[in-house]
Point group: C2
Chain length 339, copies 2
Amino acid sequence: MTPRSRGVRLDPAARAALPVAVDAMGGDKAPAEIVAGARRAADEGIPVVLVGPPDRVGDTAGLELVACTEVIAMHDDPAQAVRRKKDSSLVRAAELVRDGRAGAMVSAGNTGATMASALLRMGRLSGVVRPCIATPLPRLGRAPAVLVDAGANAECTEAMLVQFAQMGAAYATARYGIADPAVALLSIGEEPSKGTPLVKATHELLAEGSGVRFVGNVEGRDLLPCPADVVVTDGFTGNVALKALEGSLRFIVQTLFEVFGTDAETTAASQVLLPHLLPVAAELDPENTGGAMLLGVDGVCVISHGSSSATAMLNAVRVAHDLVAAGLVDGLADAVSPA
Amino acid sequence: MTPRSRGVRLDPAARAALPVAVDAMGGDKAPAEIVAGARRAADEGIPVVLVGPPDRVGDTAGLELVACTEVIAMHDDPAQAVRRKKDSSLVRAAELVRDGRAGAMVSAGNTGATMASALLRMGRLSGVVRPCIATPLPRLGRAPAVLVDAGANAECTEAMLVQFAQMGAAYATARYGIADPAVALLSIGEEPSKGTPLVKATHELLAEGSGVRFVGNVEGRDLLPCPADVVVTDGFTGNVALKALEGSLRFIVQTLFEVFGTDAETTAASQVLLPHLLPVAAELDPENTGGAMLLGVDGVCVISHGSSSATAMLNAVRVAHDLVAAGLVDGLADAVSPA
């Protein structure tokens, strides 16, 4: 059993004044891009502290570095790595949050190990059965919708899904300022009778009233752009759906660029269209959305894409800082009805 | 329990000479587009018979009509409708196949009722636990990959998923001429340890050898274009993933057209690119793929998109006819190891 909340108690204002702990060794482009992104955040006035082995991080661009001796690699087994590499950048970053020395943690490293570090070191929020991952679903020109769970829990119960709905709604409010978010359940038809036994049972609980504004089922075709503000699903389905969306967008962009490069005429035509297409592509790009968020642990934990650039890291640090100031964790604790 | 195979026995050549039974009342554009598509198939030399109430079908464009009195609507409850509307076009079409009066059936109507009609009237193939839906996943310039189950069974066992793999592989061979199809399992990571207990158990069975060439797990991001020829999943995940792909492609196409229409300059640029983009769009369009296929019943049953046009119907009838001639049903029966 994972520990319940064990963090130091601080009010949101005090916590927001604390630095964001950045895992300097997490991600495919670590440490260079990670440090560069953290530096840009610091230049914006956000307090930042790097965590990593000094000899591997190298130039810290003038940022404070909390030294450790180990790094959890992308391919390491998450549970094992967190147990064995107690002096790793990921585990130490989570401890900084727990100990009230950082306001939040950000990593573009091993997702499973990031979750495990946050869960084991910060602990679960009181009443939360299992933390979940919230990921933005872009909606052009509007705040994104929130998908929960995007992959933390392959196996779920209806009680967990109801909590994901509650936490997802609280997150949509804290992150995007959506006052009374519309919450939908991902299924294979609009009717309450559609789906797995888990989905049908969850539909019933959400419809009975669980403190969220439940608007019924949505289908896979509704995810982009999503009519609801929060979409609830188990972590297996959520992960498959999210990656299917990412994969198809990547495929279309590649195909478009191939067509653009056909000949001189198409290249010229693409030059006319690109200024209009690039802002759309930027809105759809996971680099710019500030990363996924682990909800249900006693601290703010941002999980960035493994491929995060300096810009992605800057956005992730911004989001982490903003959510601490917005009192996300207290909002989540208030939203969850104990199972 | 659904009945086992109860169809008339005919050899593939004799069956291929039989007409394809087309549900004239199935789909949003029935009967006009359906009849028009069937007519075009007949003009290509494919024998076709329409099924529907004469007063509602109206002009049959010179095609033979098997008369019935009822129609199952898109919103009807599938199981109830098939039980109550025994003289509906869907049920009668399935009976024509069972009785050796048609080689195959095609409907763009209520998907659940199409499945139920085929299952209850044609029966399951010997040894098949549950039929599944196979849907093409486009791969530009190559034969599509096959997704099974795309939505017939929200709840599955590992024995069912192994049979889906076997039937999917036999279908990829019969439909696309892929000799020894590579079969993958949809999961949330490449490692056998990733996924739900169902996925992990299925991975183990497929890896042990189940008569298919198993190449391991794929993720949602691998569906477009898919490196494997067959992707196996439960009908809930498969339906969500497929609709997520369809939804994101539709979203991108809409967004592109909005950008194209920005001003005179972008409109001119789009005129240069469209001749290159339209063939790609056509390959990705479900209208042109010949529809989904119900695998595991004792007859060929093509399930077309509800929005099917005459062209979609023509393609669906062609596919149905070709698969009868290719001996699909015998191929499926041989491929399945009884559970």
